[in-house]
C-alpha cells in the first residue's frame, strides 16, 4: 500500500511540482479505492483560503486540515455524498470546485454555449451581408472591362 502511495507521489511530482508539495501529508487507506476517492474528492473541493486552488493542490494550513477531515471520513466509511454535504454545510456551495448543475447554475454551465451560438449567428449574418455587398451586379461599362481583362489574360 505504502509503495503504491509513494509511486503515486512520484507520479504526481513528475506531473507537476505543486501537487507534490501538497502531497507531503501522508495518509493511510485501507483500500486503493479509498485512496482514489480521497484524490477525487480533494480534486473537486475548493481551498477556501486560496480560492482558486482545489484542496489537493493547496498547501494552505486549512487545506491540510480539510484533507485530514476527508481522510478521516473516508476511513470511517462515509460516502462521497456525505463528505461533500459535510463540506457544503460548513462552507457553503462555494466549496465545490465543480459547481452542481441546478437551476441557479444553468447560466454558469450553459452560458458559454449560448454565447458561442450567438457568436456564430452574428458571424453568419455578417458574412452573408458582406458576401451580398460584393456580388452587386456590374454595370455595362464594368462588364466590358472585365471581359476585356479576362480575354487578355487567358489568351
Amino acid at each position: 500500500m505504502k509503495a503504491m502511495f509513494i509511486a503515486a507521489l512520484l507520479a504526481a511530482s513528475i506531473a507537476g511540482a505543486v501537487p507534490a508539495l501538497a502531497a507531503i501529508q501522508v495518509f493511510k487507506f485501507n483500500t486503493p479505492e479509498q485512496e482514489q476517492r480521497f484524490q477525487s474528492l480533494s480534486d473537486q473541493l475548493r481551498c477556501l483560503v486560496c480560492q482558486n486552488e482545489n484542496l489537493s493542490a493547496s498547501n494552505a494550513d486549512l487545506a491540510k486540515d480539510l484533507r485530514r477531515e476527508i481522510h478521516g471520513m473516508i476511513v470511517q466509511g462515509k460516502t462521497n455524498k456525505q463528505i461533500i454535504d459535510y463540506m457544503v454545510a460548513r462552507y457553503g456551495e462555494f466549496v465545490l470546485y465543480k459547481p452542481r448543475i441546478e437551476f441557479r447554475t444553468y447560466l454558469l454551465w450553459f452560458g458559454p454555449f449560448v454565447l458561442i451560438i450567438i457568436g456564430v449567428g452574428v458571424l453568419m449574418v455578417f458574412v452573408r451581408k458582406q458576401g451580398r455587398k460584393h456580388t452587386a451586379a456590374l454595370n455595362e461599362e464594368e462588364r466590358r472591362r472585365l471581359d476585356d481583362l479576362i480575354s487578355r489574360h487567358s489568351g
Partner: protein
C-alpha cells in the same frame, strides 16, 4: 458613423460595468474573499472545548444560550487579529455585548503571551488547537466574528477584522435588533 458608435458604446458600457463592480468588490456582499456562510440562521455547532486560561474547565455551546453574544475567532499568528485587537478591547469596555473568543489552531503558550501583552477583551476563550471546532463553524480566514442570538442561532458573520465602520453599519444594528427581540 454608427459603425464606430455601436462598438464604442458597447466598449464604454463594459468599462463602466467593470468600474462599478471593482468598486463594489470592496463591499462585504460583493467581496470575493467573503464567502456567504451557510451557518446564518442555524444554531451554533455543538462544541465543548477546554478554556484557554483555565484548561481544567470547559467552554461549551450551552454558554452561548440566553443572551446575544459575539464569538470572535482569533489566533496569535494572525496578523489581522493584531490589527483588530485594540478595537475589540474598546468594544469590551462599552459592554454592549459579551465577547467570547475561539482561539483557533494556536499554541496555548503563544495565545496566553498575546493576551498578557495586548489585553484580554474576552469573557471566555475556547482553545481549539486542532481547528476542528473552527471547521464546524466554517472558519477559513481569521479573524472572523459571529453574532449569536438568545436562542443560540448564528445571525451574522463578519470575515476579517472588525472596524468602527463595519461595527456601526452591520454589527451594532443587528445586535440592537436581537436585544430588542424579547422572544
Amino acid at each position: 458613423m454608427a459603425r464606430f458608435l455601436i462598438p464604442l458604446s458597447i466598449f464604454l458600457a463594459l468599462v463602466a460595468l467593470f468600474a462599478v463592480m471593482l468598486q463594489r468588490a470592496k463591499e462585504p456582499g460583493y467581496d470575493p474573499r467573503s464567502i456567504p456562510s451557510p451557518l446564518i440562521g442555524k444554531s451554533v455547532p455543538q462544541f465543548a472545548l477546554p478554556r484557554l486560561l483555565e484548561p481544567n474547565k470547559q467552554f461549551d455551546s450551552s454558554i452561548l444560550k440566553g443572551k446575544v453574544s459575539l464569538v470572535n475567532v482569533w489566533a496569535s499568528w494572525c496578523v489581522e487579529c493584531r490589527i483588530e485587537h485594540p478595537y475589540l478591547l474598546e468594544l469590551a469596555k462599552t459592554q454592549d455585548v459579551p465577547i467570547y473568543g475561539l482561539n483557533w489552531k494556536d499554541k496555548r503558550k503563544d495565545a496566553m503571551a498575546w493576551l498578557a501583552d495586548l489585553g484580554n477583551p474576552y469573557q471566555l476563550i475556547g482553545f481549539d488547537n486542532t481547528g476542528t471546532v473552527g471547521i464546524n463553524w466554517g472558519v477559513y480566514g481569521v479573524p472572523e466574528t459571529y453574532v449569536v442570538d438568545r436562542a443560540g442561532t448564528v445571525r451574522l458573520k463578519v470575515i476579517g477584522p472588525l472596524s468602527p465602520q463595519r461595527w456601526r453599519d452591520k454589527v451594532l444594528p443587528m445586535i440592537h435588533k436581537l436585544q430588542e427581540d424579547k422572544g
